[in-house]
């Protein structure tokens, strides 16, 4: 089973993503509610893939992405973005995010995206 780390400041979103992923055969190894926590959890859990919210307190998803990429250049990070955050998603892609999911999250979208990213 592929290990996923879910990063989102909203507990609701974390639960939503977790529910979908567990239903589709992913193992959620950790959850983090901001960038700082995410880096800590990333080191601890060594996930295969990270779903990363962009807008978060303490440290944003894009900043956390940069650090994770420093720690582990092969890290697979998928951004979770709302409509209209184009510029930020683009920056994230530049920083090495593999892809992105658009909120509100659709089950087949997130599953397909994660599977594709994990294939590479």
């Amino acid at each position: 089973m592929k290990k996923v780390l879910i990063v989102d400041d909203a507990a609701f979103m974390r639960l939503a993503i977790k529910t979908i992923l567990e239903k589709n055969g992913f193992e959620v190894v950790g959850e983090a509610k901001n960038g700082i926590e995410c880096i800590k959890k990333y080191k601890e859990t060594k996930p295969d893939i990270v779903t990363m919210d962009i807008t978060m307190p303490e440290m944003s998803g894009t900043d956390a992405l940069k650090i994770i990429k420093e720690l582990d250049p092969s890290a697979k990070v998928v951004m979770v973005s709302a409509m209209g955050q184009d510029v930020m998603v683009k920056e994230a892609i530049m920083q090495g995010a593999k892809s992105f999911i658009v909120k509100p999250i659709k089950e087949d979208h997130i599953v397909q995206t994660l599977n594709k990213v994990l294939e590479t």
Binding site: K40, K69, M94, T113
Partner: protein
């Protein structure tokens, strides 16, 4: 994800989180408004909260909430990015507060299982209008917009390319990509493709060119597909494989060109290529430090109040069960050294456990107190008054149940103070008072009670008007000349009393101040009032810290048992015949260290037979409350123990209000003991 029934836990957490965020938001707005402007931090916070609510609500298909949140988010995004200088803060606060109210109402509907079907379109329009005026009004916007465009351009052409690669690639390709319908943000998806492609080659051209900044690009990509021309050393198979990895790929058309013509043709449309954009990686060590400090505050969980209530009940039962074991009549007369040792240990643990459970249930008053800011603000606007709300001791903690009971009375008191108490600015100036009034909300601990004080510096209560009104409503059962100020003021707490003739939106809605007394008395508290003309009114709520378990002294009168809360007992002693005084009216008193106290014979009060009548044979227990004391006469003391307070059964309370009783409890031997309310006995 749209069906609500299958998502109960998600719905719960949605409601919980959104409610919390809304409260946080309200606070943030009120603080911002008070400091008369929105700090960048506050703007960012509001933006983030709205962003989260928007996302969550969209997931749960509460589209009205989601669209509203979105429009507020847009507004604050603009504020954050463009920092317009002239903002009408008050109008802005009004708009957002209105939005908050809308979401609150919808949340209530969701909580009670109804459809969240309210329409926020009018509000959304006014938010959009506001945003529009901001955009127009800010003259510097235009130039700022330009600089922003430039900024984003800098971002746009970053490519992480390997410059050592030569330009002489052999194979030229043309690819047309169609994405799946509904995959959203096709432009960014296209950008991702280009980004990945540039890892392979630097000779890439694409249509539409301006993927990010041009809003139409999404439409073009949807309609015509995303066209890419590129040259590389990789084979057709390699490239096909590359493109097949694209997520949400619906259709791929990949053609290898025999010659470069098409490519050259296309290159005439000039494209800026490659501008180094340095990746800024924050310094790692600093971040590590932050990580550690943040993870320390990571140990809070949310527990439903139901569970805590059950736990509290269980602990209560356990305290009774413990008493049943330790004070079991079967043990009488037995020598049980080690049993008593073990029993003491058990008592110690149960009492610790009880303290723990109580402390879990304690919540600080700050949320309730800060809600008042909103009330004060709204009312000031409507009534054209200037009032400052001062909050003292908001960190004071009370039991969760108590908090629920005092929230409404407090609101009522604050409304009343503002509506009836504080005068209009002109009137205040004429009286030589500062133009703006002050309402002070204070909480403090006093023994086993919490005192909550609502104080205003308004006109004070008018005794004449109160008396007139009370007379009209037949509420006076005493000679008016004999009435003390306190008694007159207390009239306002009677049901059916209202001095305001006109019904105002806020405080005079037919419900009088009696809701305050009712609410407070329901949790065993009391209301004290004091007022001076033109200096203001002070209303004090005295509320027990916790409800369910108290330390009590059991006493016996005849065959009945009573429990007096230990906290109110001052002393107990064997009275001497010579200390007893009888006044001309036949009232019994007792001298204690030169002071005279009234004696209250419990057997007389509750008509108990077969009890001791002769005072020196029984025992006197002096209880004190609010600085007044009384001597209770009983047969004997039975001992001190923790008792669980149970309310008197409904049918007894309905039948008649028995004075001096706070409730009842179960003793160790299974018998019932009535808990005496010392305050009630003193003011008998």
């Amino acid at each position: 994800m749209s069906s609500k029934n299958s998502n109960e836990p998600m719905l719960d957490i949605f409601i919980f989180e959104t409610t919390q965020l809304i409260e946080q938001l309200e606070q943030s707005i009120l603080t911002s408004e008070k400091s008369s402007c929105y700090t960048p931090a506050a703007i960012n916070e509001i933006f983030r909260i709205m962003h989260t609510i928007k996302g969550s609500a969209a997931m749960m298909v509460f589209n009205n909430i989601s669209t509203l949140a979105h429009s507020i988010e847009d507004l604050f995004f603009f504020l954050r990015e463009k920092k317009p200088r002239h903002i009408d803060c008050s109008a802005l606060s009004d708009l957002v507060l209105e939005g908050i109210d809308f979401i609150k109402v919808e949340m209530e509907k969701i909580k009670s299982g109804d459809n969240a079907d309210g329409s926020a379109s009018a509000l959304i329009n006014s938010i959009k209008d506001f945003l529009l005026t901001l955009k127009q009004g800010d003259t510097s916007t235009a130039s700022l917009e330009n600089t922003q465009k430039v900024d984003s351009k800098k971002y746009q052409y970053y490519i992480s390319q390997d410059r050592s690669k030569t330009y002489a690639h052999r194979n030229a390709f043309k690819a047309v990509i169609h994405f799946e319908e509904g995959c959203e943000m096709e432009n960014i998806r296209a950008y991702t493709v280009i980004h990945n492609l540039k890892e392979i080659t630097d000779q890439v051209l694409y249509i539409p060119e301006d993927i990010i900044d041009d809003d139409d690009s999404i439409e073009v990509i949807r309609r015509e597909g995303f066209q890419i021309y590129f040259k590389t050393d990789y084979s057709y198979e390699n490239m096909h494989e590359f493109f097949m990895k694209i997520i949400f790929l619906k259709d791929l058309e990949l053609i290898q060109s025999e010659n470069d013509d098409e490519f050259r043709e296309f290159s005439k449309i000039k494209q800026d290529v490659v501008d180094e954009y340095p990746i800024k990686a924050p310094k790692l060590q600093e971040q590590d430090k932050e990580i550690q400090s943040a993870s320390a505050q990571q140990s809070i969980i949310n527990v439903s109040v139901d569970k805590l209530d059950k736990l509290m009940d269980l602990v209560g039962e356990m305290v009774i069960a413990e008493a049943m074991v330790i004070q079991n009549p079967d043990l009488k007369g037995l020598e049980l050294d080690s049993f008593h040792k073990a029993a003491r240990q058990l008592s110690k643990i149960t009492s610790e456990m009880q303290d723990m459970v109580m402390s879990i249930r304690m919540v600080s008053l700050s949320t309730t107190f800060h809600k008042m800011h909103r009330i004060v603000r709204d009312m000031c606007k409507k009534l054209n008054k200037e009032v400052r709300l001062e909050i003292i001791g908001e960190e004071t903690e009370v039991d969760k149940t108590i908090m629920e009971h005092i929230s409404d009375p407090l609101m009522h008191l604050v409304r009343n103070a503002l509506d009836h108490g504080i005068e209009l600015p002109e009137e205040r100036l004429a009286k030589g008072k500062p133009q703006g009034g002050t309402i002070t909300l204070e909480a403090k601990n006093a023994g086993s009670d919490v005192l909550i004080i609502v104080k205003d510096d308004g006109r004070g209560l008018n005794k004449e008007i109160i008396l007139n009104k009370a007379r009209e409503n037949n509420l006076i059962h005493k000679d008016e000349a004999d009435m003390t100020n306190k008694e007159i003021f207390n009239l306002i707490f009677l049901p059916g009393f209202s001095t305001k003739d006109r019904v105002s939106e806020f405080s005079g809605r037919g419900v009088g101040m009696d809701v305050v007394t009712k609410g407070v008395e329901a949790i065993g508290g009391s209301v004290l009032i004091d007022s001076n003309p033109n200096e203001g009114t002070t209303i004090m709520l005295k509320i027990p810290l916790t409800l369910t378990i108290i330390d009590g002294m059991n006493i016996r009168v005849g065959k009945s048992r009573y429990t007096i809360p230990t906290i109110s007992i001052k002393e107990s002693f064997k009275p001497k015949e010579r200390d007893i005084i009888i006044d001309p009216d036949g009232n019994e008193m007792i001298m204690v260290r030169g002071q005279c106290y009234a004696i209250l014979r419990l057997h007389k009060l509750y008509r108990i037979r077969n009890s001791i009548r002769n005072i020196p044979e029984g025992i006197i227990i002096m209880v004190e409350q609010d600085g007044e004391a009384i001597c209770i006469f009983a047969d004997e003391l039975l001992g001190q123990q923790q008792v669980v307070v149970k309310a008197l059964p409904e049918y007894i309370r309905r039948l008649k209000k028995i004075r001096g009783l706070a409730g009842c409890t179960l003793l160790g031997d299974g018998s019932i003991s009535l808990i005496l309310d010392s305050g009630g006995l003193i003011n008998f």
